[in-house]
């Protein structure tokens, strides 16, 4: 397992480096001179030259890249062109918000998706299977930004049970925080619950027809034990894989959800940065997404290995 992790970690570092090159070059390739952009309205040539020197834009590209890397490593991501705040500080404010939303949505998705996927598989062809499968298809088909609008319309505008938008930090008031996060989390989680449900059901159907499940039945084990222990344990790798594949979608979904519910998270930051052409922020956002994505995938791989004795034990002996 140690070797396996180390190899994975090495690959992750390489991907991050490649991503940093791509982001670096991508920003340099943007139409227009960044020095001109940074200089603001009607700059004089002197100002541009001084900015160029200040940001090291007069140096050759490889040197610029290593400077850029050096800044990255020290956590210096530049300055937002909008409010002149350090980008790292903005990220530090925004990322926890999105993490909370993502974790809550993931919880919703896992609980609903795995539970109903398992039930649907265990009761294949029965009413509960058709109901779960039907809702699964519906959940896949409904775009969650529309679901968000409908949820606001129903719970905030008509019923007035929950606030339509806004955000209160958890540290400030946990109850109000959850009150405002529950709707976005459910909306964001629904689509993933549907995907997870379908995949869990399919994996469980495979597992339930496996020989080892027949063995488990022949032992006289109860239905829930056969399904919930013997079959589910072998389907979990699929669940984890699907979760990993859905991470990208989760980040994309957070962007939209935050926009609808006006949550000042990472996703809203992304959209706002693009709409205001805030390049330092865009650059940081893309890089953070890549790193975050790779870290979570690493966690998925670890979970995968932990769940599968074959990988776990093979790693111990021959790496």
């Amino acid at each position: 397992m140690g070797w396996y992790l180390l190899r994975r970690l090495g690959a992750a570092v390489i991907v991050v480096l490649i991503a940093s090159v791509v982001v670096f070059l991508g920003v340099r390739a943007l139409p227009g001179d960044p020095a001109v952009v940074l200089a603001g309205e009607n700059p004089t040539p002197q100002v541009i030259a001084s900015i160029r020197e200040q940001y090291g834009l007069d140096k050759p590209l490889p040197v610029q890249y290593f400077d850029y890397l050096k800044h990255l490593v020290t956590g210096d991501l530049g300055q937002s062109t909008q409010d002149k705040l350090p980008v790292s500080q903005i990220l530090a404010n925004r990322i926890p918000v999105t993490l909370e939303l993502a974790v809550l949505a993931m919880l919703v998705a896992i609980v609903v998706g795995v539970l109903f996927g398992t039930i649907a598989a265990a009761r294949r062809g029965k009413f509960s299977d058709y109901t779960a499968t039907g809702f699964g298809l519906l959940g896949l088909s409904v775009p969650h930004f529309w679901l968000g609008l409908l949820a606001i319309l129903l719970f905030a505008v008509k019923l007035r049970w929950l606030p339509a938008s806004g955000y209160v930090p958890f540290s400030e008031n946990p109850a109000q925080n959850l009150e405002r996060m529950i709707l976005p989390a459910v909306v964001l989680g629904t689509g993933f619950a549907a995907v997870l449900m379908r995949q869990t059901r399919s994996a469980m159907l495979g597992a339930l027809s496996a020989d080892y499940v027949r063995t488990a039945r022949s032992k006289g084990l109860s239905g829930p034990r056969v399904v919930g222990v013997h079959a589910l344990r072998n389907s979990l790798t699929t669940v984890v894989t699907v979760l990993g594949l859905q991470l990208g979608g989760l980040i994309s979904g957070a962007v939209v959800t935050e926009q609808i519910f006006v949550i000042p998270g990472f996703g809203k930051l992304t959209v706002d940065a693009v709409l205001t052409r805030n390049y330092p922020v865009i650059e940081a956002v893309v890089l953070v997404t890549v790193v975050g994505y790779i870290v979570v995938n690493l966690l998925v791989d670890v979970a995968y290995a932990a769940l599968n004795p074959r990988i776990r034990l093979a790693g111990a002996t021959n790496g």
């Binding site: 020989d211 080892y212 022949s218 032992k219 006289g220 084990l221 109860s222 074959r310």
Partner: protein, 346 residues
Amino acid sequence: MTQQRSAAGRRAGTPLLSVEDLHVSFGTEDGLVQAVKGVSLTLAPGEILALCGESGSGKSVTAMSVPRLLPPTARVSGAVRLDGRDLVQLNASELRALRGSDVSVVFQEPMTSLNPSFTVGFQITEVLHRHEKLSRRAARARAVELLELVGIPDPAGRLKEYPHQLSGGMRQRVMIAIAVACEPRILIADEPTTALDVTIQAGVLDVFRSLRDRLGTAIVLITHDLGVVADIADRVAVMYAGRIVEQAEVTELFARPLHPYTRGLLGALPSAARLDGTQRRRLREIPGMVPAPYSDPDECPFAPRCPIAADDCTASRPSLDRQGDGDGHLAACFHPGLSTVEAVDA
């Protein structure tokens, strides 16, 4: 040795298990498939009964009807009596109490029949926890004993291993250890040695023999392998298209096969060499196909493939009758024992 075996089977008195007019059918997209059409059987305590036949002959379905390990679409009628209790009438939870304790199963595929995600120890102790209220430590000690019983070296060390770390033969031994953990009255072994190579086969059969001798377990052995049958069985039932077509003591059947289907399977009259179990023979291939399981015309189902079929064979279906003076030798044939040459002459 053969004599001893037969005696053990015959003199056991009242049967442990009796199957009476068992019918099993499955609803499929293409209609109702009748897999078993009126099978009756008995099994004495400590007896080893071999069920032989081609794929689709209904031998596995017949055996799996006892613990009712059948697909949910299966419909079962008739009676399966264990100690006089009709298992067909049991509800789901009564069946679960039966499975793994009174009746247990060893499946054909040792490579896939163990759960890859759990250790050997977990999978053995699980059945002990289910049926016998054992402490963790007692269950573990019992699991070590069981692995020893089925001939696995270093049993304590094996408990922590996962199935993929074991060879096919070892996995099959673990399967057997699970099956016999609660000292079942009946062990059903579905092609237990098919996937294993010959030397390992012999070891597995020894395990079965010693189980029967030590625990008095009755064994239903589903097999293609006539070598295995000759080696270990007391009695043989040959199935064809959902029915038993011939049934006899193992020596009697090999010496005097009466049904042309059995004769076909055996290839020719058996020689002594085939009976000693060292020379392994697969059932011989017989030209033609098993009749489609959707229809059941009133004729001998084997007639279309039978080398000695006569007019009466397609006029009605022969019943499974006692033949000659043989001790319990039954065959469902209008022309039992007739050879191809005799049939042509007649």
